[in-house]
């Protein structure tokens, strides 16, 4: 049982004093939500669980421990591990300050529509897990359990291609409708491992980048800027889309950018490899020259 293993691993690390805090998941208020937990004593290790509802990417919490003296241990699924790579590449987290406990992941489930039956097996996988290309952590110190086989995910750009084929006004209407629904809660930004600016442009209201009005124009400004800011650094973890309370299909924007970056500047997947530099942070002399 994986939960047994993670408890034992956390307990051992805390007992030996190798890490000062362990970030994992615990049983939430309901059986279908497991929430992040931060433990610092060996006897708390029994709170940890790993089940079908540990969707939260824990990597982002490391930002709260930037100034910690000791090491922080964190459990990483495939997507979380790419997020760690992202944070290390952005110099937000030092590799030697984190202890990564990898967990090969078979995918997380949606919360049930009705809570009466506890039929976990019948629940669909989260959208982000259905199209996950890296269920096995790409970076870790120890791996709990055996790597899981990579499932067939098909063409992840199919949605983008369908939108690209539409006419300009149709596209504008499509996005306009969606962006007018955005309530600018910034959950998509807060959860995103690529959004790690110390002061976000959208909070710097002195600079007046973004008005406080919740109207279509400001929402367009927000959503397009967010997309441009994570361009080349988005690890496709799908967390932004998962947490959006208004259900905006944010991956349709992120994937559009990923698709274009790949077409324009060569194949690149963020967060897979510590050595690769993000495409907008570098250039080639012979990049496509469309503008002249």
């Amino acid at each position: 049982m994986i939960t047994e293993k993670i408890r034992a691993a956390a307990k051992e690390l805390l007992e030996k004093g190798e890490v000062e805090t362990v970030i994992g998941w615990e049983r939430g208020t309901f059986w279908y939500n497991s929430t992040p937990v931060f433990i610092s004593k060996p006897e708390q290790a029994d709170r940890l669980v790993f089940d079908d509802f540990c969707a939260n990417n824990l990597a982002k919490y490391l930002l709260d421990y930037r100034n910690a003296d000791g090491k922080i241990a964190v459990f990483v699924k495939g997507c979380d591990a790419r997020a760690i790579t992202r944070l290390i590449q952005d110099n937000q987290v030092k590799r030697e300050k984190v202890y990564l406990i990898g967990i090969p992941c078979t995918g997380m489930k949606e919360a049930p529509k009705t809570v009466s039956s506890q039929d976990v097996a019948g629940l669909p996988l989260l959208a982000k897990c259905q199209s996950c290309a890296t269920p096995n952590p790409v970076i870790y110190d120890i791996l709990l359990g055996d790597p899981v086989p990579q499932k067939e995910v098909g063409n992840r750009f199919a949605g983008v291609e369908a939108l690209e084929a539409k006419g300009a006004d149709e596209k504008y209407e499509h996005w306009g409708k969606l962006f007018s629904e955005c309530i600018r809660c910034y959950a998509c930004r807060n959860v995103c491992p690529a959004c790690n600016c110390r002061e976000c442009a959208f909070d710097a209201n002195g600079l007046n980048w973004l008005g406080k009005q919740n109207n279509l124009q400001e929402n367009q400004m927000f959503n397009m800027t967010r997309a441009m800011h994570v361009a080349g650094r988005c690890i496709e973890c799908g967390e932004c889309e998962r947490v959006c309370p208004m259900g905006l299909p944010l991956m349709d924007i992120n994937r559009k950018i990923i698709k274009d970056l790949n077409e324009l500047f060569g194949s690149y997947d963020a967060g897979l490899n510590l050595e690769d530099r993000p495409p907008l942070g570098q250039y080639k002399l012979d990049d496509p020259e469309k503008f002249m």
């Binding site: 939108l163 596209k171 504008y172 209407e173 441009m228 274009d260 250039y283 469309k290």
Partner: protein, 160 residues
């Protein structure tokens, strides 16, 4: 918040006099010009008395790499019909490499704008050196013509 419109003068009563002919519509183009090349190129166009449409409003930036995607969105929001980012030719950037990053960033952004439903002709980038007064003239003329054909931009605007 509701405005008491009763108290405001009816705009027509105040401004429209019967003999004022309607102005023909001229596009408004916001041009971000790098200080070291394009701005000098625009200057040269002026010094050489080259005619080009008065549709462009130039904003001088230290380098084309200074242009933030948000500048472009804000320009469209505030009423631009087109946006031009212009700087030194690749290899000639005063800061060596700024424009290589510009090239990547705005190739990507032009595609994003198109994906959002904007006509990509409304957003352009060009390399115009300090000695290319005629190229500046042609660029502005061409862009003005293209945008005239497209008509006023209504997308992303928050002003009338």
């Amino acid at each position: 918040m509701s405005l008491n419109t009763e108290a405001l003068p009816k705009s027509q009563e105040v401004t429209a006099s019967p003999e004022a002919a309607p102005q023909p519509w001229e596009p408004r183009i916001v041009g971000f010009a790098c200080n070291w090349c394009t701005y000098a190129g625009a200057d040269l166009a002026g010094l050489s008395r080259l005619q080009y449409p008065p549709s462009i409003r130039l904003i001088r930036v230290p380098c084309s790499g200074r242009v933030n995607p948000q500048f472009v969105i804000r320009a469209f929001q505030r009423g631009a019909d087109g946006v031009l980012v212009a700087g030194c030719h690749p290899g000639d950037c005063h800061y060596s490499t700024g424009n290589y990053f510009t090239r990547r960033r705005f190739l990507l952004m032009q595609r994003l704008l198109e994906y959002m439903g904007m006509d990509p002709r409304r957003f352009q980038a060009r390399w115009i050196s300090g000695s290319e007064g005629p190229k500046f003239q042609q660029t502005v003329t061409q862009m003005t013509e293209d945008i005239k054909a497209l008509g006023p931009n209504r997308k992303m605007r928050d002003v009338e």
